[in-house]
């Protein structure tokens, strides 16, 4: 190694040290997306605990969905590993609050599908789109014969998930107490046997 190359290596390493130093001081923000506008809008963690009011909120939805998914995946029927076909029936809302129970079951379904341990059949809500598509492919004469999916090939679910959400609300002169109970069960469609059931309850108290 000649002296000039030693000097070059030295200066390169010095340059690298200096660059990494400047990166450390400027932080990672400079590598993020540019910010448009300077309005009073901030982005937060979607998983952050929300305690704005004591109505049903995002944290309740996430907690219920996560707790149920965890419990469901560990149930004997699913842990067996034969990827059963499940459909989601309705989760009844027995509260006086406008709670979209479908968004809870959607979360459960997404998390379970990600785990790879189950398959899902379209539920009654999505059935119209499913039948519309099949009818369009088969009855309009617009599709190639070989590519049109046949009517009568849909798979029936082995199990269905159903449940309900109930609440008890108590109002004191200075306290509002809300108790939510979310119950879910897995029913064998053929036998009608309840293979798994679980509950998740949440209590929220706020001072008025």
């Amino acid at each position: 190694m000649n002296p000039t190359s030693v000097i070059r290596i030295k200066s390169i390493s010095a340059l690298l040290v200096a660059m990494s130093g400047s990166l450390l001081t400027t932080g990672c923000a400079s590598t993020g997306s540019p910010i448009v506008g300077s309005g009073p809008v901030t982005y937060g963690d979607a998983k952050a605990v929300e305690s704005v009011t004591n109505e049903f909120g995002s944290t309740d939805l996430q907690t219920m969905a996560e707790a149920m998914t965890r419990s469901l995946i560990q149930s004997a029927v699913i842990a067996r590993g034969n990827r059963p076909l499940i459909t989601i029936a309705e989760v009844k809302n027995k509260t006086s609050e406008y709670i979209d129970t479908r968004s809870i079951t959607d979360s459960i379904r997404a998390q379970m599908l990600k785990s790879g341990s189950v398959r899902f059949a379209v539920d009654t809500h999505a059935m119209q789109n499913q039948t519309d598509e099949l009818i369009r492919q088969n009855q309009t004469g617009l599709y190639k014969k070989g590519t049109a999916k046949k009517i009568g090939g849909m798979e029936g679910a082995d199990y269905r998930i159903e449940g309900n959400i109930a609440s008890i609300v108590k109002l004191g002169s200075s306290v509002k107490d809300v108790y939510y109970k979310f119950s879910l069960m897995l029913v064998n469609v053929e036998t009608g046997v309840i293979e798994w059931a679980d509950e998740k309850d949440i209590r929220k108290t706020s001072s008025r």
Partner: protein, 511 residues
């Protein structure tokens, strides 16, 4: 000369004190004309009247207002809806909604701004920006939902329905804060804010059992029942249930509302092919006016270092209800009698809103009266008896309670529901001017048929188009269907009405 200028200056001060903008405008008188036009079926005349009162030209004379405010858009939307112009009506109401949203932002982030001027001396109630009564804000989104349904936009109706619940939550939060603050403020200022103490005030209008039975002044059984119906139509029974449940909570012991919830499961699972679930919304009359009534108020104030009591003429808003005629049933296709359930009384809601607002109004009026009495005293002391008299005249002339309310809203809302074979039908209902018949078409799985009785005129707001709901009829009904979904009508199959045969591709299904 000097004393005259003093008098003028003082007079000017009093006018400023009471607030100039809008104080000379009598909303009640303006809207009386508009409502009269509507009662005779002259929607175009009513719209022209509204525009005339809200154009810049007359503003300077105190006859109109160039600043098109929330009320202008509320009234305009309703008139356009009566005229069947749903698109334009929705546009006007969305302008009103924008203003309500601005109010909501303030209510959410800095409620102090709305509550802060509670004890304000300078501002006359009438000169305050009109933010709308709480029940008006809620009914605005309900009526927007009705417009969207009429145009076949059920998804947008859902958005409006969701907005209704969120709006109610914001109002509930703000009002609880307001009550707390008004009580506190009245205590510190030593003002009695019971309307029962006002000599000559028509207390019975606010103590009516219909008014006291209401849970609050802004939630209506109609809004929540409609929410239930829209969610049900969109195949979301878990959201429809709380809608029907809330309606029952707000108006207990009404069989019609109870059936809405009880029959939900059955209706959700067993659709009836070739049939339409029709919700009849029968509205009648117009929301009551607020009028100003003069009441002398004994006001304690300090003068010359000692406490004294003066009697100051003050004005308070009163609501005089006009009983709107509401038929108890409608006749369908000349045969079946469908009973109508009175579910919402906007008249009582308006009175309830005023009842809840009264402590704040009394507090503001008393504080203003004290300021006026001091001005009178000072004028008399400095400018002599004439100046005192002039200031008194100015004070009386500018004293008038806030009369602004959404007048073209209906006074009563009744509902009826029937499962009818899809297709053309007729309905008959008896109004003040005898029996009136109109034709309508039941399209799709669900539809809403709103009608409005105004004076001798019957307005029918037929849907422009009906959308086949995606969620329903997902599964073929079993060959042996369960007993038909709750239909309170003794249904007579219409001759010629054919049930739809096997499922074929719908028109327009290919995009």
């Amino acid at each position: 000369m000097r004393s005259l200028s003093k008098v003028l200056a003082l007079g000017g001060a009093v006018v400023l004190l009471t607030g100039c903008a809008g104080t000379m405008r009598s909303y009640d008188a303006e809207l009386k004309q508009t409502v009269n036009h509507v009662a005779t079926g002259n929607v175009a005349g009513a719209l022209a009247e509204l525009e005339k009162n809200n154009t810049g030209g007359a503003a300077g004379l105190g006859l109109g207002n160039s600043d098109k405010d929330l009320l202008y858009y509320l009234e305009k939307g309703e008139l356009l809806r009566l005229g069947g112009q749903y698109e334009q009506s929705a546009a006007a109401w969305l302008s009103a909604d924008q203003r309500v949203k601005e109010w909501e932002e303030i209510a959410k982030h800095s409620p102090g701004k709305l509550l802060g001027d509670l004890g304000s001396v300078i501002i006359n109630d009438k000169a305050r920006r009109y933010d709308g009564q709480d029940y008006e804000k809620v009914l605005l989104s309900t009526r927007l939902a009705l417009n969207h349904i009429a145009m076949g936009k059920w998804g947008e109706a859902r958005t409006e329905i969701k907005k209704t619940h969120e709006r109610e939550a914001i109002i509930a939060e703000l009002r609880s804060k307001e009550v707390e603050q008004a009580t506190e403020e009245a205590k510190t200022r030593n003002v009695h804010t019971r309307y029962k103490d006002l000599q000559g005030y028509p207390v019975e209008s606010l103590d009516d059992p219909e008014v006291t039975a209401l849970k609050n002044g802004y939630q209506s059984a109609f809004s929540h029942y409609l929410a239930g119906f829209v969610y049900e139509a969109l195949g979301e029974p878990s959201l429809a249930a709380p809608g029907y449940r809330k309606a029952i909570e707000l108006r207990p012991n009404v069989r019609f509302l109870e059936e809405g919830l009880a029959g939900l499961d059955k209706r959700a699972h067993v659709g009836k092919r070739g049939h339409t679930d029709v919700l009849f919304v029968v509205e009648s009359g117009s929301a009551p006016a607020r009028q100003s009534v003069m009441i002398p108020l004994p006001v304690p104030y300090m003068a010359g270092g000692r406490g004294t009591v003066g009697v100051i003429p003050t004005s308070f808003p009163v609501i005089k209800s006009e009983r709107a005629f509401m038929p108890s049933s409608i006749t369908l296709d000349g045969k079946a009698n469908l009973p109508l359930a009175p579910v919402t009384n906007v008249d009582a809601m308006a009175r309830r809103a005023l009842k809840d607002e009264m402590p704040g109004i009394i507090l503001r009026t008393t504080v203003r009266a004290i300021a006026k009495s001091i001005a009178q005293k000072q004028a008399a002391d400095r400018g002599g008896a004439l100046a005192g008299l002039l200031v008194t005249i100015a004070a009386v002339a500018t004293e008038s309670a806030d009369e602004r309310v959404w007048r073209t809203l209906p006074a009563q809302i009744s509902l009826g529901r029937a499962l009818l074979p899809s297709g053309k039908h007729s309905m008959k209902l008896s109004g003040q001017a005898g029996e009136q018949q109109l034709e309508f078409e039941a399209q799709g799985k669900y539809t809403v048929i709103p009608v409005r009785l105004m004076g001798s005129h019957l307005y029918a707001m037929r849907p422009q188009s009906s959308v086949e709901m995606a969620a329903q009829a997902t599964v073929e009904p079993p060959a042996k269907a369960l007993p038909e979904a709750a239909a309170p009508v003794e249904e007579a199959p219409k001759p010629g009405a054919r049930p739809v045969k096997s499922k074929k591709v719908r028109k327009g299904a290919i995009s």
